[in-house]
Symmetry: C2
Subunit: 458 residues, 2 copies
């Protein structure tokens, strides 16, 4: 039998020409966003003041199975795509498992993660629609970096509201964004009413993602030719991220292999959603059965311990209401180095699929996750992001089950990014000072109690 190469690359001409819109194949659709004032489903007109037109349309489109990727955007994708599908020979050997492990690696670009797939698309549409500037928020920094690169490439101004504590802890992330020409503002700031109000109440606050979102939205809606963009949770973001799964599917076809189990990490759900999309489509259409496993941090367990309710997307309660697995929008996760997974909610698509039993979910502690990360780094030569390392841990769990049972399953996981800007976390792990804080049931109940008591939540 011919040996499967370590890396399976598609040709550039094999880059997907269309995104795959999983919602079109979901008989049981995700619930619609609700206008927080009227509690009616959001219309295009409701969301146009905040979002670019094309993105707003994509957000509400749950009928077209495929959405064309414009030719010009495909050329931009070709700067960093196709990304490789990698056979984890080194990891398999280190684990002594009969399982075949593959990972789709999205970290080979300067943003260091899959976020660039949606950032490029969003900057492209903004430019096309004649916008001159964008605003966004960033926590861990991956999204802000990706959008900075995309805006620099398209020639659009960008203001990034970066959670203050994060901008202080990660000066190098800030420096990358600034090198790409973005204006990075520590949030809360005195550039917005929201920021000023928060600073007045607590001048020493380290900020929060919720506050940064509110500031970015305020600037977008009060600035001419400006819109707000975001990098996860939303349907249009998952649509863009479907390139991950489509490429993985095409690469597997090249080598005549089908995965049995697909594992991804989940914060807002964009990486998992993009990775599983076409495979989930096959499952929903009855073509092939797969097991899907979502791995989340034990410190922020929205799928495993949250509730499937309508809730706000931000702490300040300014967004539409979204039906999703949530810990309550006031939830403050304990310190966890996987900043990209510290979100109280979850993509409505992933939430619905989980609610309907199509996805399994597990929660892992960060010390276990870093143990897996280190094993992976040595065996595979890539230092993974703390976020992505949750997927590694999930894949290792499955590979060890295969070893126990002597099963030769094919496991695919999403390696969403690299950890080069997360060395502080690795230093803590190496020195043994990394610890785990898991919320108690009483704490979770208290946060969930802050979710709005609207009729739909009954």
């Amino acid at each position: 039998m011919k040996k499967i190469p370590t890396k399976i690359y598609l040709e550039e001409r094999e880059l997907p020409k269309k995104w795959y819109n999983l919602r079109a194949d979901m008989k049981s659709k995700p619930e619609p966003m609700l206008h927080p004032g009227t509690l009616n489903p959001c219309t295009l007109e409701d969301i146009l003041p905040v979002f670019c037109t094309e993105l707003a349309k994509q957000e509400l489109n749950d009928t077209d199975r495929f959405v064309e990727i414009p030719e010009e955007l495909r050329a931009m994708y070709s700067m960093f795509r196709p990304s490789p599908l990698i056979r984890a020979y080194g990891l398999e050997k280190a684990l002594g498992t009969p399982a075949h492990i593959y990972y789709k690696f999205e970290g080979n670009n300067t943003s260091g993660s899959h976020k660039l797939n949606s950032a490029m698309a969003q900057a492209y549409y903004a430019k096309k629609e004649g916008l001159t500037s964008l605003t966004t928020e960033t926590g861990a920094g991956q999204w802000g970096t990706a959008l900075s690169m995309a805006c620099a490439h398209c020639g659009i101004d960008l203001s990034v509201y970066m959670v203050k504590v994060s901008s202080e802890q990660k000066p190098y992330r800030k420096a990358v964004m600034e090198t790409y020409g973005a204006k990075v503002i520590a949030s809360p700031s005195n550039t917005t009413n929201t920021g000023r109000a928060i600073l007045e109440g607590d001048p020493k606050t380290g900020g929060s993602l919720g506050c940064a979102i509110s500031e970015a939205i305020e600037v977008a809606v009060t600035t001419e030719n400006c819109r707000y963009v975001l990098g996860s949770v939303m349907n249009h973001v998952l649509l863009h991220q479907s390139v991950i799964g489509l490429e993985a599917q095409a690469a597997f076809e090249k080598i005549g292999v089908k995965p049995d189990i697909i594992v991804g990490c989940t914060g807002g759900g964009s990486n998992l959603g993009g990775l599983i999309a076409p495979f989930m489509g096959e499952k929903l259409r009855g073509k092939k059965d797969y097991r899907f496993v979502a791995v989340e941090p034990a410190s922020c367990p929205s799928l495993t311990r949250g509730k499937y309710l309508y809730d706000f997307g931000d702490t300040a309660c300014t967004t539409p209401l979204i039906r999703m697995y949530t810990l309550g929008s006031k939830f403050i996760p304990s310190a966890n180095h996987a900043g990209g997974l510290r979100y109280h909610g979850m993509s409505p698509v992933i939430s619905k699929l989980f609610h309907d039993g199509h996805i399994e979910a597990i929660a892992e502690t960060q010390t276990d996750v870093f143990e897996s990360a280190k094993l992976f780094a040595k065996a595979e030569g890539i230092l993974p992001a703390p976020e992505s390392s949750h997927a590694i841990k999930g894949a290792i769990n499955e590979a060890l089950k295969c070893k126990e049972k002597g099963e030769k399953k094919v496991i695919l996981f999403g390696l969403s990014g690299t950890g080069y800007f997360d060395m502080q976390a690795y230093m803590a792990f190496n020195s043994g000072t990394l610890s785990d804080t898991i919320p108690t049931d009483a704490e979770i109940a208290k946060w969930i109690d802050t979710i709005p008591k609207i009729p739909q939540n009954a």
Copy 2:
């Protein structure tokens, strides 16, 4: 005409099976290393106490045109190779040049540079020969990181002597090495006689590369089953790095293109030497003419302002004498963020080729280099290492000459690595605090005066 894809990847089975030994095709060979005591050419026996046997043999082999890459090592290479040859469509557009620009990108691995090509080879041979530990020095950290990854993969212990000032300025580089299990010691240290002597004389010294080399050698020769390895300058390192040029050559063949001008950055010469090797071979054999351009920092201009003399490789004058372009082994370059290019000497192979007129050389200031780096980052989406950015600057110079003359030349340059661990330098550049210090003629003359006055230097 078919559009040339942005990235040209070889198949894994097209990975070079043999390294190309350029010295075999040099009618006028590099001068031999001399034993500093006898001033006779070094024999195998002279260097075996310091180097692994196979590496020592490769060091002295200037007759075999090809050296086989062991099958097991090729499998290790396949973790991060083949590396892409990239058509710089974005940069061409940004410059408005008719030139076609390509770059061979070596940064898509966790070490972030081409150094892993030789690190994997050296760790592989060390393991094969039954060694249990290695020592090395690192300045900027790329080499130390690459060797840490290679040793972790092969299961060999590693001690890295890291220039103290660098280990303090780059804690994250140190953290990556430690994550891969290496022992990182700030040099000078109290673990060696050399280190203790230096610390006694100057307890507050920030250390130097020369001192770190001396400490690493001392430990290697006094520890059982241990050898010293290094990542540039030496002939065997350039041999390993020939995979860069061989892959570039094969990729160009795929698309039916031949470069006219080949540009690389030079510190010790390993990247440039590897990139140009097979092309220079064609030139020396009269098959095709190319222009080769070496770009060095104006603050450490060994080719452009040094002398072609026998000199020591380290400050402590413990190595064999090497005939090379040198500024004197006591030369202390002014602060420059391209740490990997701050070396007083130059590979003997590159030195000889330059001396014989086969290579041109230019020196660039770091502010100009960072300007090019930023332009490149925006146009191509990759944040380059300060070292590699010298090659970018050199390629831009040539592309702008083409624009002026309306010439459609094909330019190839080596993008040896990424700048993710160099954000301090970018921050200085972004804030306008980066400055240039170029040594005066009198200063250079003073350093050159420290070169040993042996008969061969007459």
